[in-house]
């Protein structure tokens, strides 16, 4: 099972951080500092604090982007761009929401602005998994991977707002009101988008089995 298919509570374990354990002003190591403290540290001029934030959140940001475009190359570029834009706008983070939520907002906006609805994002069959070890996998696992690829491809074909709503709701478990704040919509619109996303996904998955 891929990491992001697990419940959120199981996914928040931080990846190993290969950053030198330095003080974060208050006398505790930077690697254990909370996100808000790292933001303050960064705004005070210590850009290595931003390195820690990147290492902490890069997987989630990449996954948001990947689900939008359904291919590694574009997701990689979008994730880099999202972090750069987050850095530029860091002084606007007021701590009213979790840093991760704010970062999702930046990433989603980068995706919404960069991904053309006309561009049909595709995941080439030969790159659906890294690495390709299907030959060594049991049939059930091969089937699961193929189903997952089909679902990802279908999600990537949803209209952008529906896609964004689905990604934030399904995979990042954000409540409707936070999604509404990120997308600049009402809670009602977010729920409607989620409904239509599921309805469209159903249609797309049915089409793919024909």
């Amino acid at each position: 099972m891929s990491a992001d298919a697990l419940p959120l509570s199981s996914r928040i374990a931080l990846p190993p951080v290969a950053v030198e354990a330095r003080s974060c002003g208050a006398g505790f190591p930077m690697t254990t500092a909370d996100d808000d403290a790292l933001v303050r540290q960064c705004l005070a001029g210590d850009t290595s604090a931003f390195d820690v934030l990147v290492e902490r959140h890069r997987r989630q940001v990449y996954q948001v982007c990947y689900r939008f475009v359904n291919n590694h190359e574009d997701a990689s570029d979008l994730a880099q761009d999202a972090f750069l834009r987050a850095y530029r706008a860091l002084h606007t983070f007021k701590g009213n929401s979790a840093f991760s939520t704010w970062l999702y907002r930046v990433a989603i906006n980068v995706c919404l602005n960069r991904v053309s609805a006309k561009q049909a994002p595709t995941e080439p069959l030969d790159q659906r998994e890294h690495p390709d070890v299907r030959g060594a996998l049991p049939d059930r696992e091969v089937l699961r991977q193929e189903q997952a690829a089909t679902v990802r491809a279908a999600i990537a074909r949803l209209p952008k707002k529906q896609r964004a709503t689905m990604i934030l709701r399904m995979y990042h478990e954000l409540p409707h009101d936070e999604i509404a704040a990120i997308l600049g919509s009402s809670v009602g619109a977010v729920k409607a988008n989620f409904f239509h996303a599921l309805a469209n996904l159903k249609k797309l998955l049915l089409e793919s089995t024909r």
């Binding site: 990491a3 990846p15 890069r58 590694h72 990689s76 994730a79 972090f83 919509s185 729920k191």
Partner: protein, 214 residues
């Protein structure tokens, strides 16, 4: 999407179906589901789809990718000025004016006053609504953002927008939604952005903005 009515009670509306999936549907409406085959079936279908979607993880990239990504971000950040350093310097003197200027930008007041606005998505749609429409259906602004990142004149507008405080704007009588500045960014040409920035600077300095040319 309306799904008609069952005997005695209407079928679940779209949002109610979402609430039912979330487990937040009120008891009275939930009672309807238990007696309505249509709603039960739709809810089960949605549960199945949501389950399939939830199980579709993202492929794990090669192990070296994460350090590569961090290195790329670090390199791009190294070329940037300290975050907020530019806006901090002028915020000291422009804070009271920021809300006014931001109101001008977001509400698009400058546009009808000066005749700057050469094109909108539709004649009847306000800019913000048009922006939301564009985000759903089009690809506006794909590369404009990269271009304006280096546009010093536009930096003033961006900084103003970034400093927007929702409550402060409400106090100014302006209601705006996220995406409005992105809309302006993607819709204005470089020359128009420069002109808008000039007008804002003048307003911030308390000068009189010249009237429309025609």
């Amino acid at each position: 999407m309306s799904r008609g009515t069952a005997k005695g009670a209407p079928h679940l509306a779209d949002q109610e179906l979402v609430d039912a999936l979330d487990g937040t549907l009120d008891a009275r409406r939930l009672a309807h589901v238990s007696t309505c085959a249509s709603c039960t079936m739709q809810l089960e279908e949605f549960r199945t789809i949501a389950g399939e979607a939830g199980a579709a993880g993202v492929p794990e990239p090669p192990a070296f990718f994460w350090t590569q990504l961090s290195a790329r971000v670090r390199a791009s950040v190294a070329e940037e000025p300290r975050p907020g350093s530019w806006s901090l310097s002028w915020r000291r003197w422009s804070r009271p004016a920021a809300a006014i200027a931001a109101a001008v930008v977001v509400a698009g007041i400058v546009v009808p006053v000066t005749g700057l606005w050469p094109r909108t998505a539709t004649n009847s749609e306000p800019p913000v609504a048009a922006a939301l429409q564009i985000q759903d259906d089009g690809d506006a602004g794909e590369d404009v953002f990269a271009e304006i990142d280096t546009d010093e004149a536009w930096a003033l507008v961006r900084a103003l927008a970034e400093d927007l405080d929702h409550d402060e704007m409400e106090g100014e009588g302006v209601s705006a939604r996220p995406g409005a500045v992105n809309y302006l960014t993607s819709e204005l040409s470089a020359a128009e952005r420069i002109e808008l920035a000039r007008l804002l600077e003048e307003q911030l300095k308390g000068r009189t903005i010249p009237g429309p040319a025609s």
